[in-house]
Symmetry: C2
């Protein structure tokens, strides 16, 4: 048996443990009874420990060394590379410190949830300080010569995107979109969207959700849909991909969350059998994943052409609510720009400005030792400056997102990057395909197959920058995103872009 084959057996077992953890999490969010959590957590802990033990074991370390001597295929080399990276991530943190961190996180998400409920940032501040200190220490362990700590964190989620690169991206957003948004707000054009709220029966919403998910290409032979408090996507492998949604009295809320999650799901379903159940058998990165979900949700899903073959179905499902609403009025409503306080409720145009706030603050927290107690004030000032709104309390401000309470710093930028990746892909795709025509004809599958061909089928074999280069012929270029937004919303709001 070659070293690679031996390594594969270890990795297969590690993947089995990881997949079991994924299933436990899915089950926990969608089905498990309310009292199960504390008991099930013990098993998740044991599985996680068993996974880590394999990845940091001497056997795996030696096999990884030996693999370098063997003639491997491109896929095999990528798997070895991923395993090596995963090993280094795990091995450089002393087990004792890692356990402390896990305990901290398990407490901190509860403390955060309580603080949010009580609109009281002060009660979360000391925990947040500890989380930051911990993550900075871990980043220090992982840093390669001279690497900045926030760059180490960013690299975890999006390889090749340093502060230098992201400063360029976010500065462009700030320079272009902040004044553009002011113009939009002053525009005399008004969008009526009252009809999107109301008594939309849940069973009809579910029918619509299933219909739309299937329509955009989520294959229910390889996937399921369930309900959870917050929509998410997960997968056991390429033949078992799972999305959730959440129904409310705003029909567009579940509708677009379903298209969004289906976009994530389609990505995972597009990973080939050769790669699934290996360390390169998932989407390339957080940002690349968001590029797919937000592409389907916004670039495609909020286009008039998308609704040409679909709006009749909407009216059929909701005759009382939409029978007298024209398709044109519906499309305007789902593209209404409303600068708000909550990121997850943001419209397409203002979304990345929410991310901009978080990026700037994270950078200060990690690189400039910003006192966490300054956060609420800075948060409010930045929201005022970029979006023109100001939180009345911390629950709709700095306490709104779970990420920091989980110790995730450097994750937020991926959301904005994903949107920008999608716009760059769309610009390049438009040179080959007439997307609007395809959508009007109900041939969305052509667009989906194009993405599979250029993105999905590579799994984690390439980084997001390599994938972009491959598909669009150039490195990441945020100009496409800004141009796309300004052209679309300039037209909608009759504003000179």
């Amino acid at each position: 048996m070659s070293a690679y084959q031996k390594l594969s057996e270890w990795l297969e077992r590690a993947m089995a443990f990881q997949t079991a953890m994924v299933l436990f999490e899915w089950d926990n969010e969608t089905l498990a009874p309310e009292e199960a959590g504390a008991y099930t957590a013990r098993m998740q802990g044991a599985l996680s420990a068993a996974y880590q033990e394999i990845m940091v074991s001497d056997e795996v370390k030696q096999l990884l060394e030996q693999c370098k001597e063997e003639a491997l295929s491109e896929v095999e080399r990528a798997i070895v590379r991923e395993a090596e990276e995963e090993r280094l991530q795990l091995v450089c943190i002393p087990p004792e410190e890692y356990r402390e961190f896990q305990e901290l996180v398990s407490a901190s998400t509860r403390i955060w949830a309580k603080a949010r409920r009580e609109q009281d940032f002060e009660s979360f501040a000391p925990t947040l300080e500890k989380l930051i200190a911990c993550q900075k220490r871990f980043a220090g362990y992982r840093a390669k010569d001279g690497q900045k700590l926030y760059d180490v964190m960013l690299d975890t989620y999006e390889k090749g995107f340093t502060m230098e690169k992201l400063d360029g991206f976010f500065d462009l957003l700030k320079q272009e979109l902040v004044p553009f948004l002011k113009q939009i707000k002053e525009s005399p054009v008004q969008m009526e969207d009252g009809f999107l709220s109301g008594d939309y029966p849940e069973d009809r919403q579910r029918e619509l959700a299933e219909y739309l998910a299937e329509y955009v290409g989520f294959d229910f032979r390889k996937g399921v849909m369930a309900v959870s408090a917050h929509p998410f996507t997960t997968n056991l492998h390429n033949h078992d991909v799972r999305i959730t949604t959440h129904y409310s009295d705003r029909v567009d809320s579940s509708l677009f969350s379903v298209i969004h999650e289906a976009g994530h799901g389609i990505y995972e379903m597009g990973v080939p059998d050769e790669l699934t159940q290996t360390l390169v058998g998932q989407g390339a990165s957080m940002g690349m994943h968001e590029s797919q979900s937000r592409f389907f949700e916004n670039i495609i899903g909020r286009k008039e052409a998308f609704w040409v073959p679909l709006y009749g179905k909407m009216q059929e499902l909701f005759p009382e609510q939409l029978g007298n609403v024209s398709r044109e009025a519906f499309v305007k409503a789902i593209n209404k720009v409303t600068p708000g306080l909550i990121r997850t409720e943001a419209d397409e145009l203002t979304y990345s400005l929410h991310v901009l706030v978080r990026y700037e603050l994270e950078k200060q927290l990690i690189e400039e030792d910003l006192d966490v107690r300054e956060l609420p004030k800075l948060w409010a000032e930045k929201y005022e400056e970029y979006l023109g709104v100001r939180p009345e309390h911390e629950a709709e401000g700095v306490l709104q997102d779970i990420h920091w309470s989980q110790g995730s710093f450097g994750y937020f930028p991926s959301y904005a990057l994903g949107s920008a990746f999608g716009a760059q892909m769309y610009a390049s795709m438009e040179k080959k395909l007439n997307c609007s025509q395809l959508l009007e004809d109900g041939r969305i599958s052509v667009i989906r197959e194009y993405l599979r061909e250029h993105i999905h089928r590579y799994g984690k074999l390439k980084t997001s920058r390599e994938l972009l280069m491959n598909m669009t012929g150039e490195d990441f270029n945020p100009r496409y995103y800004v141009d796309y937004l300004k052209e679309k919303y300039g037209k909608l709001y009759q504003v000179q872009a």
Copy 2:
């Protein structure tokens, strides 16, 4: 750290792997998309291998030895005993042979399903022969000096129940119930049950199912209910117990399957925190589990007194179907005796005669080298003799149950034993509690608590015979079962018992 503490760490991890397998199976039966199976099976295989590796490892072997030197509590001793037994079960079968067996089973259930579909026993016979040969070989490995092979198999499912004991049990059933059933069939009393079939809307059936499960004591804070092709119960631990049901146009089918599975569920929910997630944290045995499920389903659930506080709810849910049916007529209908061909559809009286057929045939297959090709003929003759019905084809005869195709021999007797355990418990309980009055008053919780006190809270600390002795003051005595059946059905059918 003591040897016991070290052992506990290994066992905790082994339990985590096993629980993950349970969750995968649950998910597979209730939710997973159709194409997931083959891929997920790889992970289940890896988890199973990891579980076995722990249980047969030298570390665990040595720790088990060392534990014998340590002062342990009763619970700890029981856990060590179970671990030792599990280890011996696994270690005595050469890994290569075990792998072959698993492959055989994975093929054989498919071959059996096809044979059943095509009503063609011949196509399954060679596989069945291999399964028997394999299980006899395995039983040989496990047999202690002079132990008969079928006794080894029986012991796996029900400790302390040998052929000698079971011959006495089944002979009594044959002598008493076969002639009694003939009397019943000749009785002029007719039970009308046509109204149990019909257009019973599924959402109402679901409402009833949830209501009944909760009513008998299934705690939805620690459990969930889902739909699957065949009803079953499973559990991750005592705070996560799961039952399924299946809706058809016979309202009593899902109704009693829900009470049955809730009975299993209540057992697992009654296991104390101290035992859950350990090797003694489950019901004592297959038979003891069936005793609880069949107790709730039949002894309690088909009693008139049970329906006194409930029948109004039934009529409310199904006014068109049951509005004009009296409670008395309903209770008669759900106790109608109809000797049939299919075990899982059998009524309370004839159920154990189906098991009798299987017990006699298994004994011949294992102990007397019965040629499997004789099975269809013998099956038909025994059904004719004991139940007065004869299969027209093998799908409603020898091919009906999945058990043999999974290599399970010695499992069937537990079904009949469970019914008999329940009757013995009921007789003893009646000396302390007035069950009918309690049921009429809607105080079923008193009965449930009595069972928890005497059975559930022990988990696997005691064997089924020990539990019976403990609760009823005597060893297993099948007379109670026969008396219970003859008294109940003698009265219903106006037959001299």
